[in-house]
C-alpha cells in the first residue's frame, strides 16, 4: 500500500471525536484522561497531517461511500476548510484541558453527574463541526447544522440555572426555525437542479426567481444562526448563560460555522444571484452589529454578558467582507482580512470566556462591580484577557489588527471609505468597553488582596489562546498560502494590487 489517501485524515477527523463521544457517554469517568490530554493531541496531529497533505498534494474531494454526486455525498477539502479545522482543534484542545478544573470548581454542590455530560457533548460537537467544515453537500450540511444546534443547547443547560434554560430554549427554537428556512431552500434547489452537491451547483445556477428565493431562504437561515444584527438577540443570553468552557466553544466556533457556510454559498454557489446591492445590505447589517454590539457591551453589568455582546459586534466585522469583496481589485485583501479576523476572533474570544470563567470562580460572581482589583488575584487570567483584547480591538501586532488592516486597506483602495470608517469606529468602541473592564480589574482594591496560587490548568489554556490570537498575525503570509489551496474564491497572489 502506498501513501495513504489524504481523505484518511479527514475521515479520522470526524470519526475519532465521534467515537470518543460515544465511549465517553458509555464509560463515564474511566476514559477521562484520554479525553483531556490524548485526544486533543491526536486531533492536532490529524489536522497537521491534513494540512501537510493539502500543501503537498493539493485540494481534494472525497466521495463518502464511493458514490459520486448527485447520488452520493462528497467532502471538499481545501485550504479554508483546513484553516477552520485547525482553529477548531486549537480551541477545543484548550477547552478540554480547562474544563475539568472549571467543572470541579463551579459545580461542587450541583448534580455532579451532569458535568459528566460535558464530555460526550463536547466531542460530538467537535465531530459535527469537523463534519460541517468538510461537507460539500447542502443537505448533509443541514444535518450537521442540526447536530451543532442540539449539541450547543445540551451544553448550555449544563449551567443549570433558569436563565440558561430560557436562553437554551430561545436558541433551540430560533435554531430550528432557521434550519427549516435553510432546508426549504435546499428543497427548492434540488427541485430545480436535481443535485445537492455544492461544487456541481456552483457552475450551474441561474439568476432566476427560484434560485433567488432558495438562496435567500438558505442565507437568511444561516444569518440567524450567525446572529447577525438584528437577529442577534438570542446570542448574548445563550453565550453569557452557559458554563464558561461552553461559552468559549459557542462564541469561538459555532457561530463561525454558519458564517463559513454563508461564505461558501455566497461566493461558491450563488454568485449568480449575489448582487452588489445585497452585499452592501449585508455590510450595513454588519456595521449595525458592530455599533449596537459595542454599545450593549459597554452597558453590560456582567463580564460574560460584555464578552457575549462583543461577539455580536465582532461578527459584524466579518460581514464587511461581502461589500468589500465585491470590488475585484481588493477582493484578495478583503478575503484575507475577513478570514484572519474570523480565526483570530475565535482564538481571542475563547481566551476571554475561559479567563472570565476563572475570574468568575475566584470572585464568586461575574458582576463587574464585584471585580475591582481582581487582576491581582488572577494575573495570568487577566493577561489572557488583555492579549485577547488587544486582538479584538485590532491593535498591532495582533491577528485582529492584521485582519482589520487588510479590510481597511481594501475599503480605502476600493473607494468604499464608509466601511473604513466603520472599521476604525468599531475599534474605538471595542477599546471603550474593554478598557472599562480593565480599569476595574487593575484598580486598587479596598480589601487587601489574598494571594491565590495560579491554577495552571485553568489559566494557561486561555493564556495560550490569547498569545495565539496575537501571534497569528505573523502567520498571515502562510495563511494566504493555505487559503489559496483549492480556493474557488477570489483569493490568490500575495495581496499586491497595483495602485
Amino acid at each position: 500500500m502506498n501513501t495513504p489517501h489524504p481523505g484518511l485524515w479527514a475521515v479520522l477527523l470526524v470519526a475519532l471525536p465521534l467515537a470518543l463521544a460515544l465511549a465517553a457517554y458509555v464509560a463515564g469517568r474511566r476514559i477521562r484522561p484520554i479525553l483531556v490530554w490524548i485526544a486533543p493531541l491526536a486531533m492536532a496531529a490529524l489536522v497537521t497531517g491534513l494540512i501537510h497533505s493539502l500543501i503537498h498534494q493539493g485540494p481534494f474531494r472525497y466521495e463518502v461511500g464511493g458514490w459520486a454526486p448527485p447520488l452520493g455525498i462528497t467532502w471538499k477539502v481545501d485550504g479554508l476548510a483546513a484553516a477552520m479545522l485547525a482553529i477548531t482543534a486549537s480551541v477545543m484542545g484548550a477547552v478540554c484541558v480547562y474544563a475539568p478544573g472549571y467543572f470541579a470548581g463551579s459545580f461542587k454542590t450541583a448534580g455532579a453527574g451532569k458535568t459528566e455530560l460535558f464530555w460526550p457533548l463536547a466531542y460530538l460537537l467537535w465531530a459535527s463541526l469537523n463534519a460541517f467544515f468538510l461537507s460539500a453537500d447542502v443537505f448533509n450540511l443541514y444535518v450537521t447544522l442540526e447536530l451543532m444546534t442540539l449539541g450547543s443547547v445540551g451544553m448550555i443547560v449544563l449551567a443549570g440555572t433558569a436563565e440558561s434554560l430560557a436562553a437554551a430554549l430561545r436558541y433551540l427554537m430560533l435554531g430550528l426555525m432557521a434550519s427549516l428556512l435553510y432546508l426549504m431552500g435546499v428543497a427548492l434547489i434540488y427541485a430545480s437542479y436535481g443535485s445537492l452537491d455544492m461544487v456541481a451547483l456552483g457552475g450551474q445556477l441561474r439568476g432566476d426567481p427560484l434560485t433567488w428565493a432558495a438562496a435567500s431562504l438558505m442565507i437568511v437561515g444561516l444569518l440567524i444562526k450567525t446572529a447577525l444584527f438584528p437577529m442577534h438577540f438570542w446570542l448574548p443570553p445563550a453565550h453569557a448563560g452557559a458554563p464558561a468552557p461552553v461559552s468559549a466553544l459557542l462564541s469561538a466556533l459555532v457561530v463561525k460555522a454558519s458564517f463559513y457556510l454563508t461564505l461558501r454559498l455566497w461566493f461558491d454557489v450563488f454568485p449568480a444571484v449575489a448582487r452588489p446591492s445585497a452585499a452592501q445590505f449585508l455590510g450595513v447589517l454588519g456595521a449595525c452589529a458592530i455599533l449596537w454590539g459595542a454599545i450593549q457591551a459597554f452597558r453590560a453589568d456582567r463580564l460574560k454578558t460584555l464578552i457575549a455582546y462583543s461577539t455580536v459586534a465582532q461578527l459584524g466585522y466579518l460581514f464587511l467582507l461581502f461589500p468589500l469583496a465585491a470590488a475585484p481589485a481588493v477582493a484578495k485583501k478583503a478575503w484575507l482580512g475577513a478570514i484572519l479576523l474570523a480565526l483570530s476572533h475565535a482564538l481571542a474570544k475563547a481566551a476571554m470566556f475561559l479567563a472570565a470563567g476563572r475570574i468568575q470562580q475566584l470572585a464568586g460572581d461575574d458582576r463587574l462591580d464585584r471585580l475591582t482589583g481582581i487582576g491581582q488575584r488572577a494575573p495570568l487570567a487577566l493577561s489572557a484577557m488583555a492579549l485577547a483584547g488587544v486582538s479584538l480591538m485590532g491593535l498591532p501586532p495582533s491577528g485582529g489588527f492584521a485582519g482589520k488592516w487588510m479590510l481597511l486597506v481594501a475599503g480605502v483602495q476600493s473607494g468604499q471609505w464608509w466601511w473604513a470608517l466603520v472599521l476604525v469606529a468599531g475599534g474605538l468602541l471595542t477599546a471603550g468597553y474593554l478598557f472599562r473592564f480593565w480599569a476595574i480589574a487593575i484598580a486598587a482594591s479596598d480589601h487587601p488582596s489574598q494571594r491565590v496560587p495560579v491554577n495552571w490548568r485553568m489559566e494557561l489554556p486561555p493564556f495560550a489562546l490569547g498569545v495565539a490570537a496575537v501571534l497569528i498575525a505573523f502567520l498571515a503570509t502562510h495563511a494566504v498560502e493555505l487559503l489559496e489551496i483549492g480556493a474557488a474564491f477570489p483569493i490568490g497572489g500575495t495581496g499586491e494590487v497595483a495602485p
Binding site: G373, L395, V412, I442, A443, E496
Partner: protein, 498 residues
C-alpha cells in the same frame, strides 16, 4: 542572517525579552528582576554603541520581517533613527536605575518593569521603522504598553488619567490609521525615503495630500502634545515619577515628535511639503503650542503639572524646527529632540526626589529645599537653566539654531516666539530655583528635615546628576564629532542633499 541585518532585531529584543521574562517572575524576585533590567539596558547600550560606530562609518542596518502580505515590517537604522535610539537607550538605563530606587517596596513592580521594558522596545521599533506601516505598528504598541504605567497606582485619579490618555491617543490612532491606509491606496508604497517620495505625484492630488498630511500630523500630534491635543499630558502626571520621565523624555512625546519629523522629512519631504504649503500652518501650530504651554505652565503651582506644561511647550520646538523647512532650523529641531529629553528627564527625576524625600509637591513648598538636598537641586538648576536657554547649556544650542534657521527661512516672527518663550521659561523656572536656594526652609520641609542635608539614596541621585551632566556636556561639547548637534547636522545634510 548576518550581523548587520540582525542588529535591529537584537536591539528590540534586548528590552523585549527582559520585559517578557519579568512578567513570568514572581513579585518577590527582586534581585533577578533588577539584574535582568540592568543587563538588558546595558546590552542595549552596547549595541547602540556598536551601531553608532557602524553608522558613522557608513553602514546601514536593515532588516525585513515578513508580516502581512504586501506589508512587511522593515527596520532601517541610519543616522536619524540612531539619534532617537541613542537617546532612549541611555535614558532607559538611567530611568531603570531611578525606578528601582523609587519603587522600592511598592506593589505591582513586576507589572511596572515588564511594561516599562515593552515601552522601550516599542520606542526602539518606532525609531528604526523603515516605513510608515512599521512605524504605525510600534506606535500603537507604545500606546498599549504605556496605559498600564499611567494607571499604575490604580487610584481613581490614575484611572481617570488613563482614560483621558486612551481617548486622546486612540483618537489619534484612528486618524493615523486612515491617513496611512489612504496614502497606501494612493501610492502603493509606504517606505521612508530621504527628501520624500510624493514629489512625482501629479498636481491634482495636492488637496488630497494636504488632507493626508493633516491626518498624519494630527495623529502624531496627539502624542507630541500639540495644542489642542495636549490635554492628556498634564493629567498623566499622577503616575509615578519614572513614568513621567518615560512619558516626557524617553518615549511617548518623543515618539509623537519623531513621527512628525518622519512625515515631514521622509514621507512628504521638506521641499515638497513646503511646496504643498503645509509647513507654515504646522509652524504656526507649533508656535501657538510653545506660547500656550509656557503660559499655562506659569499658572501652575503643582511642580509636576508645571513641568508637564513646560513639556507641551518645549516638544513643539522639534516640530517647529522641521516646519520651518530650512537646514539650520531642522538641525535645531532635531537636536532639541535629544536636548529636551535630557533636560526634562533631569527635572522630573528631581521633582520625584523632592516628593519622595520631603513630600514637596508644589512650588510654594520649595522654600529652602536646596539646603536640604543640594545635589538634587543642583541638577534641577542645571536642567532649568537649560530649558530657559542659558548658554552654554544644551537648550541654548537648540534655540540658537532655530533662531538662525527662522531667519534663513525668512520668517523672523519665529524669533519673537522664541524670545517670548525664553522669557516665559525664565518666569516659571527661576522662582522655583530662587525659592530653593535663597529662602529659608519653612513649614513641612523644616519639620521633616530639621538639621542639615537629607540627600537621597544613590539609586535616585545618580540618574539626575548624570542627565544634568549630559545636558551640560551636550551644550559645552556641541562642536565635537559625537555630539547630538553633529548627528543632527549629518541627518539634515542628507535630507537636504547638502
Amino acid at each position: 542572517m548576518n550581523f548587520d541585518s540582525s542588529v535591529p532585531v537584537l536591539l528590540i529584543a534586548s528590552s523585549l525579552l527582559p520585559g517578557l521574562i519579568i512578567f513570568t517572575l514572581r513579585e518577590e524576585q527582586r534581585g533577578l528582576r533588577t539584574t535582568l533590567n540592568l543587563m538588558g539596558a546595558s546590552v542595549k547600550l552596547l549595541l547602540v554603541a556598536v551601531m553608532l560606530w557602524g553608522v558613522h562609518h557608513g553602514h546601514a542596518y536593515e532588516t525585513v520581517i515578513p508580516f502581512l502580505p504586501g506589508f512587511d515590517l522593515t527596520f532601517r537604522a541610519d543616522s536619524l533613527p540612531m539619534l532617537f535610539v541613542t537617546l532612549s537607550a541611555v535614558l532607559w538605563l538611567l530611568t531603570t536605575i531611578y525606578a528601582i530606587g523609587y519603587l522600592e517596596g511598592s506593589a505591582n513592580r513586576r507589572r511596572f518593569f515588564g511594561f516599562f521594558s515593552l515601552c522601550v522596545s516599542s520606542t526602539v521599533g518606532i525609531a528604526m521603522a523603515g516605513d510608515l506601516f512599521t512605524l504605525l505598528v510600534f506606535y500603537e504598541m507604545l500606546t498599549l504598553t504605556t496605559y498600564p504605567l499611567v494607571v499604575h497606582r490604580g487610584t481613581k485619579q490614575a484611572l481617570r488619567a488613563g482614560r483621558t490618555y486612551l481617548v486622546y491617543t486612540l483618537g489619534g490612532s484612528v486618524l493615523l490609521l486612515l491617513g496611512i491606509a489612504w496614502l497606501y491606496a494612493l501610492t502603493g508604497d509606504l517606505c521612508f525615503k530621504e527628501a520624500g517620495r510624493l514629489g512625482d505625484l501629479p498636481g491634482e492630488y495636492a488637496p488630497t495630500l494636504r488632507l493626508i498630511f493633516a491626518m498624519l500630523v494630527l495623529g502624531f500630534g496627539v502624542k507630541a502634545a500639540l495644542v489642542p491635543l495636549h490635554g492628556w499630558l498634564p493629567q498623566a502626571m499622577v503616575a509615578p515619577a519614572p513614568v513621567s520621565a518615560l512619558l516626557h523624555a524617553v518615549a511617548v512625546v518623543k515618539a509623537g515628535a519623531f513621527g512628525i519629523v518622519r512625515v515631514v522629512s521622509d514621507v512628504f519631504g521638506i521641499e515638497f511639503a513646503n511646496r504643498l504649503g503645509v509647513l507654515t500652518p504646522l509652524a504656526v501650530a507649533a508656535s501657538v503650542t510653545i506660547i500656550y504651554g509656557s503660559l499655562r505652565a506659569l499658572a501652575q503651582d503643582d511642580l509636576k503639572r508645571r513641568l508637564a506644561f513646560s513639556t507641551v511647550s518645549q516638544v513643539s520646538y522639534i516640530a517647529l524646527g522641521v516646519a520651518l523647512g530650512t537646514p539650520l532650523a531642522t538641525i535645531g529641531g532635531l537636536v532639541h529632540l535629544v536636548h529636551q529629553g535630557l533636560m526634562k528627564i533631569t527635572l522630573f527625576f528631581c521633582a520625584g526626589n523632592l516628593a519622595e524625600r520631603l513630600h514637596v509637591h508644589r512650588i510654594s513648598e520649595m522654600d529652602g529645599v536646596g539646603r536640604k538636598m543640594p545635589w538634587t537641586m543642583g541638577a534641577f538648576t542645571l536642567g532649568a537653566f537649560g530649558m530657559i536657554g542659558v548658554p552654554p547649556m544644551a537648550g541654548f544650542v537648540s534655540k540658537w539654531y532655530l533662531a538662525t534657521g527662522a531667519l534663513q527661512a525668512g520668517q523672523p516672527w519665529v524669533i519673537g516666539v522664541l524670545a517670548a518663550s525664553g522669557l516665559l521659561n525664565a518666569a516659571y523656572f527661576l522662582p522655583s530655583v530662587y525659592r530653593a536656594w535663597f529662602r529659608p526652609p519653612s513649614g513641612e520641609v523644616a519639620e521633616r528635615a530639621p538639621a542639615g542635608g537629607v540627600e537621597i539614596t544613590w539609586w535616585l541621585l545618580l540618574p539626575p546628576l548624570t542627565t544634568a551632566a549630559l545636558a551640560l556636556g551636550a551644550g559645552l561639547l556641541a562642536a565635537s564629532d559625537f555630539s547630538p548637534l553633529a548627528w543632527a547636522k549629518v541627518i539634515t545634510g542628507r535630507e537636504f542633499g547638502l
